[in-house]
C-alpha cells in the first residue's frame, strides 16, 4: 500500500526548477549581442535545418535553448500570435514586449501547475528599433521570469563562463564584424577545473542571424550564411569541433564527463541528485514527515 507523503511547496518548486535547469544546462550556449545596426544572435549548432534562432515578425526574433520540441511549440505559437495581431490590427501593433509577456505567462503557468512537466527551455525575444537605444532584448527563463537585458544576453550551457567573457570584452556600438568576433570567441571560451581554454569554433558549426535595422525590406530578420561569416571573421587559426559528443536534452549523453553522485550542482547536468535536502524530510526541522491521518 502506498503512503501519501507530504512534500512542502518549497521543495516541490525547487525540484521542478532543478529539473528544468539541468535540462537547459545540457545544451550549448547561445548569445545575443547588440551591435550598431541591431541585434546579433550566435550559437553553436551543427544542424543547418533545426534552427535555434528564427523570425517571429518584422522586427522581432526568437532564440531558444533547451528541449527542441518545447521551444519549437513556443516559436510557432509566437508566429501565430504575432501574425494574428498584425492581421487584425496593424503590423506596427506587434511588439516584442507583448510577445515576451505572453511567453512569460505561458511558461509561468506551466511551471507552477502540478499537472505538467516544466518546460526545459530558456528563450530570448529581441526587437530592433530605430536606433540602438530602442533595441530591446527580453530573456525568459523556464519559470516565466522576464529580464530586460542590455548590451548582451547569454543562456544555456555554460552561461556563466560565456557571460563573464562577454562582460570583459563586450563594447557597445561595435560593428557587425567586431560584435560577431567577440560573440564567437565567447562561445569558444570554457573553464574546466579553474583552467580557461579558448577554442576556435568552425564556421560550419555556427548558427548566426541578425535583426538588421538597415535592411530595406520591412522584415529585418536575416540569417548570415557560412561564406559571409567566414568573410566577417577573417583568419582565426585552426578550428576544432566541440570536444565531447554533445548530449542534447533529447539524447542523454552516453559518456558523462564526470560524476559527482553525492552533491547537487545545478551547473552539472549529469549529477543524479536533486535538491540539497532529501525530499521526504521537513526542510526546516530536518525531521521525517508524519503521514497525515487517514
Amino acid at each position: 500500500m502506498s503512503m501519501p507523503f507530504y512534500v512542502s511547496p518549497e521543495q516541490l518548486m525547487k525540484d521542478r526548477a532543478d529539473f528544468a535547469r539541468k535540462g537547459i544546462a545540457r545544451g550549448r550556449s547561445l548569445v545575443a549581442v547588440q551591435y550598431v545596426d541591431g541585434v546579433l544572435f550566435v550559437t553553436e549548432n551543427p544542424s543547418q535545418a533545426l534552427h535555434k534562432v528564427s523570425e517571429i515578425y518584422d522586427r522581432i526574433a526568437f532564440a531558444a535553448v533547451g528541449r527542441y520540441n518545447e521551444f519549437e511549440n513556443l516559436r510557432i505559437a509566437g508566429v501565430r500570435l504575432a501574425d494574428m495581431r498584425g492581421y487584425s490590427y496593424d503590423r506596427r501593433d506587434v511588439t516584442g514586449r507583448g510577445l515576451a509577456n505572453a511567453y512569460a505567462q505561458t511558461l509561468g503557468t506551466i511551471f507552477s501547475s502540478g499537472g505538467e512537466k516544466p518546460y526545459e527551455v530558456e528563450i530570448l525575444v529581441a526587437e530592433v528599433g530605430g536606433n540602438v537605444d530602442e533595441d530591446t532584448i527580453y530573456r525568459l527563463t523556464y519559470e516565466g521570469r522576464v529580464a530586460d537585458e542590455h548590451g548582451y544576453a547569454v543562456m544555456g550551457g555554460d552561461a556563466e563562463t560565456v557571460a563573464s567573457y562577454l562582460a570583459e570584452h563586450y563594447t557597445a556600438g561595435a560593428s557587425l564584424g567586431d560584435a560577431l568576433a567577440v560573440a564567437v570567441a565567447s562561445l569558444g571560451h570554457a573553464t574546466e577545473g579553474g583552467q580557461t581554454t579558448d577554442r576556435v569554433i568552425p564556421v560550419t558549426d555556427l548558427e548566426v542571424a541578425v535583426l538588421d535595422r538597415l535592411r530595406s525590406q520591412p522584415r529585418k530578420f536575416a540569417r548570415i550564411r557560412p561564406a559571409r561569416i567566414e568573410e566577417l571573421l577573417g583568419d582565426r587559426g585552426p578550428s576544432e569541433h566541440a570536444a565531447a559528443p554533445e548530449g542534447g536534452p533529447d539524447s542523454p549523453s552516453s559518456t558523462p564527463p564526470h560524476i559527482t553522485p553525492s552533491t547537487d550542482d545545478p551547473a552539472d547536468p549529469t549529477d543524479q541528485v536533486s535538491g540539497d535536502v532529501e525530499p521526504l524530510e521537513d526542510p526546516e526541522s530536518g525531521e521525517p514527515p508524519v503521514a497525515p491521518p487517514l
Binding site: A49, H51, S54, E55, I56, E72, N73, L74, I76, A77, V79, R80, L81, D83, M84, G86, Y87, S88, N101, A102, Y103, Q105, T106, T109, Q217, R219
Partner: protein, 284 residues
C-alpha cells in the same frame, strides 16, 4: 485574450496555413465568412478596374491604373491596386476594392506565415493555388455582386522566368505565358498588348508596353483612369526579377508616362504595329 496564457490551440503543431488557422480560431476575421442578406450589393462599394501584366526575359511587370469607380462616380483617383505578395511575387486586384484589399492582406500574411513556420518559401504554383482557395471562398459574395478577380504573377526561382496567373470568380486559375489583363478595361488593354508584345522586350520596354496598354484601356473604358497630368497621378508599376520585386519610383514612371502621352499628342491611337503584306515588305 482573457487568459494571459497563450491558448492551447496556438501551441498545437499542424497547419502552416494562416487562413486555416483563422478558420479554426477566429473565423470572423476571414473576409469570406460573412453572411449577407439576399440581393445585389454591387453598387454599394467602389470597384477597382484595369490591371495588366507582361513577362520579359528575366522577369515580369505588373501595372494598374489608379481609378476606383462607384457606378458613374469616380470614388478614388489614387487607389493602389498592385501589391507585393512576398519578395518574389505581386498581386493585382480588380473588382470590389474593399474585399479585394482585405483578400490581398490575408494572402500576404498567408505566404509570410508559411515561410516563417516551415522555414522555406512556397513554390510559385503553391502560392497561386492558395490564392485560388481564397477566391473560391468568396464565391457567395461574388454571386451578390461583390466579386474579386485578382491577377497573380511572380518570378519562379526554379525555372528562372516570370509567370502570370489569371483567375475567375470560382477560383479557377490559368497560366498565361506572355501577358494578361483583368478588369473593365482589360479588353482594350489586351488588344494593345497583342499588337505591341514581343518575346525579347527589355525591362524598360516592358514597362512602356504596360503604360501604353493602360493608356488604351483608359481611352476606351470610362472606368479606367489614364495618366492624370494635372494632379501628377500615374499608374502603379511593380517589376519582379531574380533579385526580388520592387515598386518603380514615382518620378521614373512620370518620365515614361510623359513620353507616352507626348507621343499620343502626335498620334492619339498610339504606336503602330507593322502590317505584314505578301512580298515580305512590312509597311508602316
Amino acid at each position: 485574450m482573457s487568459d494571459a496564457r497563450i491558448p492551447a490551440s496556438y501551441m498545437q503543431p499542424g497547419t502552416s496555413s494562416f487562413s486555416d488557422f483563422l478558420i479554426a480560431n477566429a473565423p470572423d476575421l476571414l473576409p469570406a465568412r460573412r453572411s449577407l442578406p439576399a440581393g445585389s450589393a454591387a453598387e454599394l462599394a467602389p470597384h477597382g478596374t484595369t490591371i495588366v501584366a507582361a513577362t520579359f526575359p528575366g522577369g515580369l511587370v505588373m501595372a494598374g491604373d489608379r481609378r476606383a469607380t462607384m457606378g458613374n462616380v469616380i470614388a478614388q483617383r489614387d487607389i493602389d491596386k498592385v501589391f507585393p505578395a512576398d519578395e518574389f511575387s505581386v498581386v493585382g486586384i480588380a473588382g470590389t476594392a474593399g474585399l479585394a484589399v482585405e483578400m490581398v492582406r490575408l494572402f500576404q500574411v498567408e505566404l509570410e506565415h508559411y515561410e516563417k513556420i516551415e522555414g522555406s518559401i512556397l513554390s510559385l504554383d503553391g502560392k497561386a493555388n492558395r490564392l485560388s482557395a481564397l477566391i473560391r471562398a468568396n464565391l457567395g459574395m461574388a454571386m451578390q455582386g461583390l466579386a474579386v478577380v485578382p491577377m497573380f504573377a511572380g518570378f519562379d526561382l526554379d525555372r528562372g522566368s516570370g509567370r502570370i496567373f489569371g483567375y475567375d470568380v470560382t477560383g479557377g486559375r490559368h497560366e498565361e505565358n506572355q501577358f494578361y489583363t483583368v478588369g473593365s478595361g482589360s479588353l482594350f488593354a489586351r488588344g494593345a498588348m497583342k499588337k505591341l508584345y514581343r518575346d525579347d522586350l527589355s525591362e524598360i520596354e516592358c514597362v512602356t508596353l504596360a503604360l501604353q496598354a493602360l493608356y488604351d484601356a483608359a481611352d476606351d473604358d470610362s472606368a479606367t483612369g489614364g495618366p492624370d497630368l494635372t494632379r501628377r497621378i500615374f499608374p502603379i508599376i511593380h517589376v519582379v526579377t531574380a533579385d526580388g520585386g520592387r515598386k518603380l519610383p514615382e518620378d521614373e514612371i512620370a518620365e515614361l508616362a510623359d513620353r507616352v502621352v507626348g507621343a499620343r499628342m502626335n498620334r492619339p491611337d498610339g504606336p503602330v504595329a507593322p502590317l505584314d503584306l505578301p512580298g515580305g515588305e512590312a509597311i508602316r
